[in-house]
Amino acid sequence: MNYTASELMTVHAARLLRDGDVVFVGVGLPNLACNLALRTHAPNLLMIYEAGVIGARPARLPLSIGDPTLVSGALAVCSMYDIFTLYLQRGNVDVGFLGGAQIDRFGNINATVIGDYAHPKVRLPGSGGSMEIAGWANRCYIITPHQKRRFPEKVDFRTSAGFLNGRAERQATGVRGGGPQVVVTNLGLMEPDESGELILTALHPGATVEEAQANTGWALKVSPNLRTTEPITEDELIILRSLDPQNIYLKG
């Protein structure tokens, strides 16, 4: 069975979701992962979008975070202030999906600048909702291709918090969320160990430890219980492709 790296990552992200989870969703692969989970093992998934939409049932593929298809047929729509306070800050969100230009050894994310803040090499779009999602969602998942430039030892700017310089440091801030739980890449899965450092815990069929290490910017440790992920099924792939019929997000 042939599939793209994006399809592989999206299926594995979908499998991380639990039935009944309240998920803060972004457009692109996270949206596809949530809609796949909804149609497979998590029929009671509640999708929340930062634009203020609760219980969205998009009838077509949303192409922006505020696509009108998210509204028609949704359970509720509220202001952005309400979505960030009543839903996220209050602790009503189980899962947040995050992405960024750089993710470091402790799962901190940079979506702000490459280089110095005042005189950057590149100014990126910035936080949007991610600073608060990373702080306050109970569990955070990251979907990103496994490339060395995306995984530096330290990020240039901490837009959103992983475990800072270690799990204890995050805990000491008193922030409510549990931090990053899994990074899904095209090679496998990375998860934080007891210290909060991301280590390789699973490889997709055909991927190797050497490949993962060569594409990570720090000395990537390997879990003693390294496993191979369950192959993605034809059913998952058929449903997933039906969600992105024009292959806008899944082609890569």
Binding site: E50, M80, F84, G135, G174
Partner: protein, 300 residues
């Protein structure tokens, strides 16, 4: 008293050089026609505030209207980067003041509530706090723990697009609500643009849908299709193809200038702009109706 006037009159009397302008709308209801009118009237040195500057501010920056942008996500939603704004901030032509979405809308919530600042829980990510001195910490006097605070934002002018309003500016909004209500109450002046002007009876038939009361509104303008290439829920779809096209146009200053000449300086108003888009675009953006079940307010 009616506040009805043309968009040209509203911009001429309420938007001044150097003002802080907040054109509202999170992806939805972005008042592009008002942005284009500000460009035509040649306003300068504006501070442009929006959570997502979107194409409207990219175009206004391209036209030389702005000296500063206050924002929380500087991207072309669903596409990539805002090339013009990014280049202008990197060259120093435009100053930036950056927040997270929550920081940004919290500023509006404080401004709308008439309080000087507003607390937020900390997120454990402190780099933006260090980059933007408007983020401060204070001690919660009850628990003794630190909270993050941001100051109220009270723009000189808010521009808010809505589905329907009466001549006094009592406005019904549905779909994604973004920061429409908050910015209308936070701003010193409010320009309301509406797809339709309706009788006061229509507004009174569904008072729960009135997000903005007319008494805080200065000007009411009937501006159909004001939001294109953004959208108005139930009226027309988002023009995602144009968001992609802008990514290409904005690669070259010549193409941007040609686009502004043709689509902003070259048209009189939003109706001429909409006609110029042509029937193919109108058909592509048309949306089938999907009505809510009526509610019974009771005849008391």
């Amino acid at each position: 008293m009616t506040k009805l006037c043309s968009l040209q009159e509203a911009i001429a009397s309420l938007v001044h050089d150097g003002d802080c302008v907040y054109a509202a709308g999170f992806t939805h209801l972005i008042p592009f026609a008002a942005g284009h009118e500000i460009i035509r009237q040649g306003r300068k040195n504006l501070t442009l505030a929006r959570a997502t500057p979107d194409l409207i501010y990219d175009q206004m920056v391209a036209a030389g209207c702005a000296s500063k942008v206050i924002y929380s996500y500087m991207g072309n939603p669903g596409v990539g980067s805002l090339r013009i704004l990014r280049a202008a901030t990197e060259s120093g032509q435009v100053q930036i003041e950056e927040y997270s979405h929550f920081g940004m809308i919290s500023r509006l919530q404080a401004g709308a509530s008439g309080i000087p600042f507003i607390p937020m829980n900390q997120t454990a990510a402190t780099d933006l706090e260090h980059a933007n001195p408007n983020y401060r910490r204070v001690t919660d006097p009850y628990s003794g723990r630190e909270v993050i605070v941001v100051p109220a934002l009270n723009p000189d002018v808010a521009i808010v697009h809505v589905q329907r309003a009466d001549a006094n500016g009592n406005a019904h909004i549905w779909g994604i609500l973004g920061e429409q209500k908050e910015v209308a109450f936070a701003a010193k002046h409010v320009i309301l643009t509406a797809e339709e002007i309706v009788a006061e009876d229509v507004i009174r038939s569904d008072p729960n849908r009135t997000l903005i009361p007319g008494f805080i509104v200065d000007a009411v303008c009937q501006v159909p299709y004001c939001a294109h290439p953004s959208y108005t829920q139930g009226y027309y779809d988002r023009d995602n193809a144009f968001y992609l096209e802008w990514d290409k146009i904005s690669e070259s200053p010549e193409a941007v200038k040609a686009w502004l000449d043709e689509w902003v300086y070259g048209v009189r108003d939003s109706l001429e702009y909409w006609q110029k888009l042509g029937s193919e675009t109108h058909t592509r953006l048309a949306v089938k109706p999907r009505y809510a079940a009526p509610v019974n307010y009771g005849d008391y």
